[in-house]
């Protein structure tokens, strides 16, 4: 959506503006791109704790007998072994194995709680609802806001307000009282840092955002730093690094295809995906360290020695931590191993880049809960 007038306000709209945010239209909403500056916000998140408003994302409930089986036809995750309060990263797949969205699914009592991307949520809902059997219902929780508190000091700030969150391990969640607000809190995020995602009633979002930013460790952070943080963390962004023309194996997300599901199948796209697992995909998403200082961005081409396009850059920018340009690109399988060099073309100029393992900046997740 490019028309600003159609950008709907989120629950914290005025709160962001009052704190000096520059607002931009994103995924159909008006959202904060930055406050004091992307690099400062990026570093603050890596050193302390950043508060992100991600209320544009879709929060869904799938409930009813058969919800587990129905979801397993759409996602390659093993939900049967997913324990109460545990999160899984998964993919909404088309019949040809293309990726319709990436998402987090949590078993929560008698239902599954699913968080999907903001720009794709309405399409996701239509896709899922059209494939649900009778008795399984989807509820789009439009009345919920979603905040993320990310960074090494997130646990200090949040455990002061919601004692007990420090005991959560990475990719687990539970309900907590945050002040007087009942929140669903999981230890998860999109920055590569330790941190939490906090689902609360939209009507209480301002109160919770105030409580969190009253903590000395916490500053509000915009979408600009969210993007540079996730790029350093090697995490793909839907609509850029993933789309309906990319498969999980091409996208190097094979870990999201659970072991039981690889063998049994029974999910959209299985035939193509199992073939790519066995024979390899013709192209793969890789991390690139670009020579020099100039960022090579989404849309740049990967070219061969004759200048023919053989791949594309899907995300690229300047890493504030490495102080160097980094990128994600799809490259031919023969050039996809770390150490391979590739040539990129952008606005008539050529750049050399080296395939490097991701993440670019090490993850610092708290896998065991309280340290």
């Amino acid at each position: 959506m490019s028309d600003d007038s159609q950008a709907a306000p989120l629950p914290l709209d005025r709160w962001h503006v009052a704190r000096g945010a520059r607002m931009v239209p994103f995924a159909g909403y008006s959202m904060p791109i930055q406050y004091e500056g992307i690099i400062a916000e990026h570093r603050w998140t890596r050193e302390s704790a950043g508060l992100f408003d991600v209320s544009h994302m879709g929060q869904l409930i799938l409930a009813g007998p058969g919800a587990e089986k129905a979801l397993e036809t759409l996602l390659p995750a093993d939900l049967a072994i997913l324990k109460e309060g545990r999160l899984r990263y998964s993919l909404l797949l088309a019949d040809d194995g293309g990726i319709l969205d990436d998402l987090m699914v949590t078993r929560r009592g008698d239902h599954f709680y699913v968080v999907v991307n903001g720009a794709t949520k309405l399409d996701d809902i239509a896709h899922i609802e059209a494939r649900l059997p009778q008795g399984v219902v989807l509820d789009h929780m439009k009345e919920q806001a979603l905040l993320a508190l990310q960074g090494p000091k997130a646990v200090d700030a949040l455990s002061r307000l919601a004692p007990g969150v420090e005991a959560l391990g990475f990719m687990t969640g539970a309900p907590f009282q945050l002040g007087s607000v009942t929140a669903w809190i999981s230890r998860s995020g999109y920055t590569g840092e330790d941190g939490f995602e906090i689902s609360i009633p939209a009507a209480r979002a301002v109160e919770v955002a105030d409580l969190l930013t009253e903590q000395a460790e916490v500053k509000p952070i915009g979408l600009g730093a969210r993007d540079s943080l996730r790029l350093e963390a090697g995490l793909p962004l839907y609509g850029h690094d993933l789309d309906p023309t990319t498969t999980p194996i091409e996208a190097d997300l094979g870990f999201a295809i659970s072991k039981r599901r690889r063998g049994e199948g029974g999910f959209a796209g299985w035939h193509r995906i199992i073939r790519e697992i066995e024979q390899g995909a013709i192209r793969r998403r890789v991390g690139l360290a670009v020579e020099g200082r100039q960022p090579v961005r989404e849309g740049a081409m990967v070219v061969d020695a004759e200048g023919n396009e053989v791949g594309k850059v899907t995300s690229g920018g300047f890493s504030p931590i490495l102080e160097a340009p980094i990128a994600m690109a799809y490259v031919p399988a023969a050039s996809a191993e770390p150490g391979a060099t590739v040539t990129l073309a952008q606005r008539g100029k050529l750049y050399q880049a080296r395939v490097v393992p991701m993440p670019f900046v090490p993850h610092r997740y708290q896998r065991k809960g309280a340290a």
Binding site: I38, G224, R293, Q294, G317, F318, P320, P325
Partner: protein
């Protein structure tokens, strides 16, 4: 000599038959953190309104246009090592290049500081 401004947010400070060019404080504020600047080589001919340099923020790349026609005589090498000078001192240490004016009459169409300020306020 006074400083003149373009609608593309470049400034130009005329010094005899030469002039120094950069981007304005308004422009650097809009772009955000500058991480790379591509400067023209000395000797390059630039044309009024044509591409002269590229400035890259964390978010995006932007072209910098020549405010007037002329020959580049010097580029600010300090920006190669420290592009953030464009953020911290856009109309001083963060200058981009110096050129020799081809046609001083091209300066007539540019804005003075007061006109540029009201132009920015209307943006």
């Amino acid at each position: 000599m006074s400083v003149l401004y373009t609608e593309e947010h470049e400034w130009i400070r005329v010094e005899g038959d030469e002039a120094v060019v950069g981007i304005t404080d308004f422009a650097q504020g809009q772009l955000g953190d500058i991480v790379f600047v591509e400067l023209p080589e000395a000797g390059r001919q630039v044309t009024k309104g044509g591409d002269a340099a590229v400035v890259e923020s964390v978010k995006a790349a932007s072209d910098v246009y020549a405010p007037v026609t002329g020959e580049v005589v010097e580029a600010n090498q300090a920006l190669v090592d420290d592009p953030s000078l464009v953020n911290t001192d856009p109309e001083g240490e963060g200058w981009f290049f110096r050129l020799r004016l081809a046609d001083a009459s091209e300066l007539d169409g540019l804005m003075d500081a007061a006109a540029y300020k009201s132009f920015c306020d209307s943006q």
